[in-house]
């Protein structure tokens, strides 16, 4: 290797005042063998960057270490053509967060340069992953309702080829049965016509769209860009990405006996919509016109016995139905008994307008009984806002039933029929909805290039479903654009690296294939992994899983991190100068540390932190290496896992936690305290807490005393 290393130190922003940069220069030149070590008062200046570029061009520098501010806060020197760059965050992680002009701080500075130098020297230039043959840019949209049609329309207008599959014989979905739609446009005051017929016509007329009605999916083989689809009618074609907009179905009202289900004059919102569509509001029992109608909200929703969640749209649907009824019958009375009126977003205006109707009567209340009485349905309500329990003699009762996702039962009734080892369909997060973590990753799902949109994803109204479908359409286009160029998608969008498998040494243990959160690794009969690179998100979970350490990225691998660990200088005196290795997730923990530094929050100078792609990519060998080389403790800092996980790779931090159990065993064998290796969860917003977490761990280790293997 004829790599030439250049180390560039910035002394601006107080770095030069806090750190003895002469010492750092010495380490860079002598230990790291840097050919050039240069210092500048502000490396972010164009002149300073030009000088680095000149070194690359004229002096043949191929590896660069920049010791300056965090690349998240200054991008001036992150990319230099012709060389690989590694940034040591001297400003946030060092000068602004440690005691200035201090021996321990200077030692940290030296170690940071050692680690960065090793990292950049061990890295290899990235090569674009070759685009697979037969890569398809067509998007498959499953479901021809409001969300599906909106997605198709958006895609077609972007010039993308789309295949639309609808299991019914005609397009339209749920909207086909509607008398009117909840308002989706300003002024949001009155029910409006559904946009679906116009959308269906536009979609049918588009040259970019192929429509299959009366079809379901028999199977989908392959990976993003290469999905081979077979329909129930035997049709086959290839698509690149998939948008699933299969919607939701109403909750089974027959289970709501306590709300009067079984009485013919107690109907569901869907039944009532059918009445509204033909404009005949009559009692099913005797055909008499219904003058007085009670709407019962949350019928089965927000109910531990039925659907524990809010179905989001029922309140607006009821308001719409009350309005449609009142318009048809100005003498009619519509009573609405709710738990809470929930009309998200602009629908509050609809609620307000519906309230203003003198014949609409609203109260919060608990339904005590719904019983037949003298040719009416008697509805008894307690806990009302009227100050006393009330009794309404209704001609008709309408149960506002909630939404059950169409994916609720994919185990017995698969929809996508994917041949992923993880299952035939999108995995669900809660209650059968294939939702995404909504704060950090809206629109994402856990299958690369397969997106859910509309009520299948989580309960929502028409306006939200339209926005959701457009979002999913854009995500599909984005995914195909990136993947076709060999790049990763969310959350490492644009990343050109990809895992190499040194299969010669594979022992077919199947850990990588089983642990990959995205099902990127199939197996052959023996259990050797068969990568589907276009499914891969570059998290490195396979790398963390592999006991043979045969998985590697060109710029991130087991040897590289092991070498970084070994490059750190371990002082003999473990009591005075302990060393703590912190493996920090790049997604939340490292940015949180940046913010802590920006806020001048200080933390122990005994900490040596190494960024990792995900805690799931942490190979246990690194912990062995660090304890063997004399580190007194190891801390893993990653994202929250569990029900409301924030792990960007879904289960990386959870896997790390599991692997820690094996580490504990190992520690026991070595007669080391298991407290020496621990794991912590932080979110970006925990930047204020993070220095305390680090200091607390350092204290724990000091209490335990130095690593007895130090110096051996």
């Amino acid at each position: 290797m004829n790599d030439v290393l250049g180390v560039y130190l910035c002394s601006g922003c107080g770095i030069g005042d806090a750190i003895d940069l002469d010492k750092v220069e010495k380490v860079a030149a002598k230990e790291c063998k840097a050919k050039f070590v240069r210092r500048d008062g502000a490396l972010c200046r164009a002149e300073a960057v030009d000088r680095i570029k000149a070194d690359v061009l004229r002096e043949g520098v191929t590896r660069i270490v920049v010791a300056a501010c965090s690349p998240r806060h200054c991008g001036a020197t992150v990319e230099i053509d012709g060389a690989l760059v590694e940034v040591a965050s001297f400003r946030e992680h060092l000068a602004w967060s440690h005691e200035p002009r201090n021996e321990d701080t200077d030692m940290l500075a030296e170690d940071m340069v050692r680690m960065a130098a090793v990292r950049v020297q061990k890295a290899e230039p990235l090569e674009r992953f070759p685009a697979p043959e037969g890569f398809a840019f067509t998007v498959l949209v499953v479901g021809g309702g409001l969300a599906g049609l909106t997605a198709v329309d958006a895609l077609a207008r972007l010039g993308t080829k789309v295949v639309l599959i609808e299991k019914a014989d005609r397009l339209g979905g749920w909207a086909n049965g509607l008398a009117a739609e909840v308002p989706i446009a300003a002024p949001y005051e009155a029910p409006q016509a559904s946009p679906v017929p116009a959308l269906a016509a536009a979609v049918a007329a588009s040259a970019n769209v192929t429509v299959y009605t009366g079809r379901t999916i028999a199977s989908i083989h392959g990976a993003p860009g290469l999905f081979d689809v077979t329909l129930s009618g035997g049709e086959t074609f290839r698509v690149g990405a998939i948008v699933q907009a299969t919607g939701a179905v109403p909750y089974d009202a027959a289970k709501l006996r306590h709300l009067g289900a079984g009485n013919p004059d107690v109907v569901t919102a869907a039944d009532f919509e059918a009445m509204a569509k033909v404009g005949r509001f009559v009692r099913p029992s005797d055909g008499r016109p219904a003058e007085s109608i009670v709407f019962i909200q949350c019928a089965g929703s927000r109910d531990a016995e039925h659907l524990p969640y809010c179905s989001a749209e029922c309140c607006s649907v009821t308001l719409k139905q009350a309005r449609v009824f009142r318009t048809a019958n100005p003498a009619g009375k519509a009573f609405i008994i709710y738990k809470d009126m929930r009309t998200p977003g602009k629908l509050e205006l609809f609620y307000k307008a519906a309230q203003d109707d003198p014949g609409v009567f609203l109260t919060k209340g608990t339904i005590a009984a719904v019983t037949p009485a003298d040719g009416t349905v008697r509805v008894d309500v307690t806990d009302t806002l009227l100050g006393e329990p009330i009794r309404i003699a209704a001609d008709l009762v309408v149960l506002a039933t909630g939404m059950v996702p169409s994916t609720a039962d994919t185990k017995t009734a698969p929809i996508l029929n994917l041949d992923y080892r993880l299952g035939t369909d999108l995995p669900d997060t809660k209650y059968g909805f294939p939702d995404s973590e909504f704060v950090c990753f809206p629109y994402e799902t856990r299958r690369t290039a397969i997106y859910a949109a509309g009520t299948v994803r989580h309960p929502m109204g028409a306006a939200e479903a339209i926005a959701d479908a457009r979002g999913a359409a854009l995500k599909a286009v984005q995914a195909l654009t990136l993947i076709s160029q060999g790049m990763a998608v969310h959350p490492r969008a644009l990343d050109l690296s990809y895992p190499d498998f040194g299969l010669m040494r594979c022992t077919q243990c199947k850990r990588c294939t089983e642990e990959c959160p995205f099902g990127a690794l199939d197996e052959d009969v023996k259990g050797t992994p068969m990568p589907n690179p276009t499914r891969c998100r570059r998290c490195g979970v396979c790398m963390g899983a592999c006991p043979e350490r045969i998985v590697s990225f060109k710029n991130y691998n087991v040897n590289m991190v092991s070498a970084m660990i070994k490059a750190i200088e371990i002082p003999e005196d473990g009591d005075e100068k302990p060393r703590i290795l912190v493996l920090m997730c790049e997604n939340d923990a490292i940015p949180a540390l940046d913010i802590a530094g920006l806020n001048r929050r200080t933390f122990s100078s005994f900490v040596r932190s190494i960024p990792v792609r995900c805690l799931g990519s942490v190979n246990v060998i690194w912990i062995n290496d660090s304890l063997a080389s004399g580190f007194d403790g190891v801390l893993l800092v990653g994202c929250k896992h569990g029900d409301d996980y924030q792990c960007h790779f879904i289960k990386g931090s959870e896997l790390a936690e599991k692997r820690m159990e094996n580490v504990s065993e190992k520690l026991k064998q070595l007669a080391l305290e298991k407290e020496r290796v621990q794991i912590r969860e932080v979110a970006l917003t925990d930047y204020d807490r993070l220095p305390g977490i680090l200091d607390g761990f350092v204290e724990t280790i000091r209490d335990l005393g130095p690593n007895p293997f130090k110096g051996l």
């Binding site: 109707d357 003198p358 609409v360 009227l386 329990p389 009330i390 009794r391």
Partner: protein, 379 residues
């Protein structure tokens, strides 16, 4: 065993409330901000939150038996703070208007005064009665000589006619007041027996004279000054008129311009007009962009006509001495007096006794007169 109240919304009542200033009634979503900000609502079961939903649901019986409707002085602190634009203060006014119509004896008069389409009949009744009276006992035309209104309608006809009518009005007031009292006792609370009706009445009278509760309104100081000016102007005019009737019977009439009674009457007339003008401005301001409350405007315009014609009578008689203008003005003034005094139980004026009775009832039933009363006393 839970007892359930059978609910049957009274759509006509809701329509009445909406037509009389409460067009926003249905917008309330029961957050109870109104009850919290109200300076005069009692601590327990404060208004107007509960009245808002009763009105939304057309629960006429509930509202008829609710004394709180009348304890409200329409300060509109609640309307200013309502996050939903439901204007509870205005709605309470609308509820009172709708209730005045329902308590009225005979009910048909209540309905007529409430409805613009009946305005011609409402005006024709006094116009025709007074015309007949003048035809019979006075001179329907412009009498000769200096202006003396008795020439147009002699005291011997005027006083018995108005006296008789006044008695009928009092009887109607008594019947509707009794109906109201019973409803409130049944619907809100029975008198506890701890406070004698005499003391309750005396205390209420003091409160009315000092406007002590009205003073606590913070949003509409204009209404306070308007009302107190109108109140004392009207009371003084009522007193002066009563004394003048005695003077007239004793033959001491007419009085000169500078007679103390005359001066008091003129000052009171100006006070009445000023007060009414303030209230008119306040109402116009509150209704800006909204629907007009006919029931309120009827009474305000009536007071304006009453005050203006009253002042013009003096002007035409003593200052410019123009009989051609004086006698027609007198006729209009008599019609206005009739409408004000004798339609009292059917117009907004009826709040005079409903509110008085409600305040007496509140004292006898032990309903505190205001959440902040203790706080005010402490301050």
């Amino acid at each position: 065993m839970t007892t359930f109240r059978a609910v049957q919304p009274d759509l006509e009542f809701i329509a009445d409330v909406r037509a009389s200033g409460g067009e926003t009634v249905k917008r309330c979503f029961q957050c109870a901000t109104c009850s919290v900000v109200c300076a005069i609502a009692p601590d327990r079961a404060p208004y107007p939150r509960k009245e808002m939903i009763w009105a939304q649901w057309g629960m006429t019986d509930r509202l008829a038996g609710d004394s709180h409707v009348w304890l409200c002085h329409q300060c509109n602190d609640c309307s200013a703070h309502c996050p939903r634009g439901a204007k509870p203060g205005e709605v309470m006014g609308g509820v009172r208007a709708a209730l005045i119509k329902r308590f009225a004896v005979p009910r048909v008069l209540g309905e007529m005064v409430h409805d613009l389409t009946y305005l011609p009949i409402v005006l024709l009744i006094p116009a025709v009665l007074l015309y007949a009276l003048i035809q019979q006992f006075g001179y329907w035309g412009i009498p000769d000589g200096e202006v003396e209104y008795a020439k147009f309608l002699p005291h011997m006809a005027l006083e018995p006619f108005f006296g008789g009518m006044f008695f009928l009005m009092m009887f109607s007031m008594f019947l509707s007041g009794r109906r109201f009292w019973r409803a409130v006792c049944a619907g809100t609370a029975m008198p506890t027996g701890e406070v004698a009706w005499t003391k309750a009445t005396w205390d209420t009278l003091v409160e009315v004279l000092t406007h002590s509760r009205f003073k606590r309104c913070t949003e509409s100081k204009g209404r306070f000054w308007g009302h107190i000016s109108l109140f004392y102007g009207f009371a003084a005019l009522f007193f002066v008129t009563g004394v003048v009737v005695i003077f007239a019977v004793l033959g001491l009439y007419p009085l000169t311009l500078w007679h103390p009674l005359k001066v008091l009457g003129n000052v009171a007339g100006i006070a009445l007009l000023t007060g009414t003008a303030l209230l008119v401005m306040d109402r116009a301001d509150r209704e800006a962009g909204g629907q007009h409350a006919y029931f309120d405007w009827f009474f305000l315009i009536l007071l304006l006509v009453l005050g203006t014609t009253g002042m013009l009578l003096v002007y035409f008689r003593l200052i410019v001495e123009t009989p051609e203008a004086a006698y027609p003005t007198y006729y209009v003034h008599l019609v206005a007096v009739f409408l004000t005094i004798l339609y009292l139980p059917y117009t907004k004026f009826a709040h005079l006794y409903y509110r008085f009775l409600a305040m007496v009832h509140a004292r006898m039933a032990g309903i505190p007169t205001g959440a902040t009363e203790t706080a005010i006393k402490a301050a």
